[in-house]
């Protein structure tokens, strides 16, 4: 393998890896706040992409405006989803496994609603970062590769700062770690969980917006993406933002290298086998997650 090929593949893997990382980030966020593993994160991301499509492509709003509107709509949707659906189940002490299945059903619902609303055809919109590759020493790189790295890095940093540096963020973390103590301290637990959903769906919106020019939107696209994102979140360490990032990148790169060096047919089998082996050896992931407390 030539050096150029090597660099090319690393960038390709990184590109997909960041997408997995974004979805994994949303999963970790909700996990932290509520101990809920959100199986519908991939589909939330899909719907974010479609809303952007509506405002940017169909209604021809300027990119930044459409971007903002999408995030706001998705954020509100996430907040309402938590307030109206998930939080009441927490409150009534539902078996966590049932709430988890609720997210699976939500994913089926989103997929079919998208199909009904936007139709089955694959949709895409103009890549705002340009659609011509830059050729450097035999390596072809799309401008969005670099932009996505920057945006994801900024997002991760901003999230960290928000959770560690603001009052709301600290309250959220308190809820995540000790819900009972937090509520005794006057933190509104339901409000905080709902806010976390808001953050997470907002994040899904951003991911969807970033992905749409790279991956055409289809109602089903969230499925396979989500499974990789689960793997990324678990390998990185559930609940850890750095872990989501590292896990996503590892999966993206491992996948493309396995497909190149061994076979593309079994690349998903390889990823899943690695995941299982990894969990058996180091159940907490790279950035050890606390797996004993929450279910």
């Amino acid at each position: 393998m030539s050096l150029a090929t090597l660099i090319q593949l690393i960038f390709q893997g990184l590109n997909m890896g960041l997408i997995y990382a974004l979805a994994a980030l949303g999963i970790s966020l909700i996990w932290n706040a509520s101990g809920l593993f959100n199986f519908s994160q991939g589909d939330l991301l899909t719907i974010g992409g479609y809303i952007m499509l509506t405002f940017f492509s169909f209604l021809s709003l300027p990119y930044p405006v459409a971007f903002l509107i999408t995030i706001v709509i998705m954020g509100i949707a996430g907040y309402l989803l938590s307030k109206g659906y998930f939080y009441p189940m927490f409150q009534q002490n539902f078996n966590p496994q049932i709430i988890l299945i609720g997210t699976v059903a939500l994913s089926v619902f989103i997929r079919n609603s998208v199909l009904l609303t936007w139709g089955p055809n694959a949709k895409t919109y103009t890549n705002p970062f340009g659609s011509k590759p830059l050729a450097l020493f035999g390596v072809n790189l799309m401008p969005h590769y670099f932009w996505n790295i920057v945006i994801v890095a900024v997002l991760v940093l901003a999230l960290q700062m928000f959770l560690k540096g603001t009052v709301i963020g600290i309250a959220m973390r308190a809820v995540a770690q000790k819900p009972v103590a937090a509520s005794l301290m006057g933190v509104k637990v339901g409000q905080m969980i709902s806010l976390t959903f808001l953050l997470s769906t907002g994040l899904a919106a951003i991911s969807g917006i970033l992905i749409a020019p790279i991956i055409p939107l289809t109602p089903e696209m969230g499925g396979l993406l989500a499974i990789k994102a689960f793997a990324a979140a678990l390998i990185g360490g559930l609940g850890s933002f750095g872990g989501a990032l590292v896990g996503g990148i590892i999966i993206g790169i491992a996948e493309v290298f396995f497909a190149t060096l061994v076979t593309s047919t079994y690349k998903d089998v390889f990823i899943f086998a690695v995941l299982i082996a990894f969990l058996m050896i180091r159940p907490g992931g790279i950035f050890r997650a606390d797996i004993s407390e929450k279910v």
């Binding site: 089955p120 991956i215 290298f257 690349k267």
Partner: protein, 402 residues
């Protein structure tokens, strides 16, 4: 027994009867269409068509297209007050779409549902898996079914009731290869195909077609439906020194691969692909500029100057505000084929089947149809190239019927 216990019993009965009667209950009402079956002259009769299509699930994009095309034909016929049967009776079409959920097991449910409506003809299912899973259902009910873009396997099951609106890949792939060799002078083809029955069958037909010209694929790559990144496969193709790519898959993947090849600096590699890539969605996904020079084999070319086809394209696009794709056109014709047969033999399923199997040089709106031994109906093929944002016809060939 206290009231609470009574409530429980009621709940039980409700649940038990709900599952029981809701399932059995919906059968009775469907028979009504059949009331007109007797050949009362002068009376209006109803030709029942049930269309099995993947309206939801992963293949939904095809489902919508074929249903639109078939509906358009039905609406045209009914708007003209139906047509006249062999005994002078007026016949209108009752058309129902049945969702087969893009899933083989569900196709059996859907086919059983369709059969329970007692149609004269079934259209679809659209996917080979669905046909293979469900073909016994319409065979047992003795209802002829005209399927669409399925693999050659579907008409090789020895089921005389299955007809296929698709040219065998054993026919069109040699034409595609011939075009590639003779017009584009390719030397080192690479092949990439999706891991589904349909695309796989295309690859199987490709190997011998290439061997005829003494060519052997320099590399063969595969991908899974729903994959998003193809760089591993494309880099392998690049490293193999290929000068061209033969691409078989469903529309979204075809579009993504055609685009990603440009993003990886392989835009100079010629692409020879199939009718899935003629779907406007493929062009949209790939981007017009990345589609330049792509050669496809298809059953309808928007670049065909034939006025009948141009008129149809206009009609379709003004009705559905959507660019036409080759995938749906045959379903438009299939309704007309059925109409023409019923005009001749009336609403007898067995006679309809017989006529379908004898179909010879039927001049459809969009092509000429003849049935072969296995029940394949389409025998006309176009090869086209995407140039300056438009499809240009390269050549037209008709497949001899055995």
């Amino acid at each position: 027994m206290d009231r609470k216990g009574l409530k429980k019993i009621i709940a039980l009965i409700v649940v038990a009867s709900m599952t029981f009667f809701l399932i059995t209950g919906c059968s009775g009402s469907k028979e009504s269409g059949e009331a007109n079956k007797g050949s009362g002259e002068g009376k209006t009769q109803v030709l029942k068509i049930a269309h099995l299509a993947p309206l939801t699930g992963s293949a939904a994009s095809y489902g919508v297209q074929i249903v639109e095309a078939a509906k358009m034909a039905v609406e045209e016929i009914n708007a003209a007050g139906g047509f006249t049967g062999p005994n002078g009776e007026k016949i209108t079409i009752d058309y129902t779409e049945v969702d087969e959920t893009s899933n083989s097991a569900a196709a059996i449910d859907a086919a059983k549902n369709a059969v329970s409506m007692n149609p004269h003809v079934i259209l679809g299912p659209n996917r080979s898996g669905g046909v293979l899973a469900a073909h016994k259902v319409w065979q047992e009910a003795k209802i002829p079914a005209i399927t669409d873009a399925t693999s050659a396997q579907t008409t090789k099951q020895g089921n005389p009731y299955t007809f296929r609106m698709q040219i065998s890949s054993e026919y069109w792939i040699p034409i595609l290869v011939k075009t590639a060799v003779e017009k584009y002078n390719i030397k080192k083809p690479a092949v990439i195909y999706g891991l589904n029955d349909y695309s796989k069958a295309n690859w199987v037909a490709t190997e011998p077609a290439m061997a005829k010209y003494g060519l052997k694929p320099v590399t063969v790559q595969t991908f899974n439906d729903g994959d998003q990144d193809f760089s591993a496969q494309l880099v392998a193709i690049k490293n193999s020194g290929a000068d061209s790519i033969f691409l078989y898959g469903y529309t979204p993947e075809c579009g993504k691969i055609i685009r990603q090849r440009v993003e990886l600096g392989m835009g100079n590699l010629l692409v020879f692909t199939e009718r899935a890539s003629t779907d406007p969605a493929a062009v949209e996904i790939a981007g017009k500029e990345n589609f330049e020079g792509v050669v496809t084999s298809t059953t309808l070319s928007p670049g065909d100057p034939d006025p009948k086809i141009q008129e149809f394209i206009k009609k379709f696009e003004s009705k559905y505000h959507r660019t036409i794709s080759a995938t749906h056109v045959n379903h438009y014709d299939s309704v007309y084929i059925v109409k023409s047969i019923v005009e001749k033999v009336g609403l007898d399923r067995e006679k309809i089947r017989e006529e379908l199997s004898k179909l010879n040089n039927y001049q459809g709106v969009l092509g000429v149809y003849s049935a072969d031994k296995e029940g394949n109906l389409v025998h006309h093929m176009y090869t086209q190239v995407y140039k300056n944002g438009k499809w240009e016809l390269l050549l037209e060939e008709t497949y001899p019927v055995q």
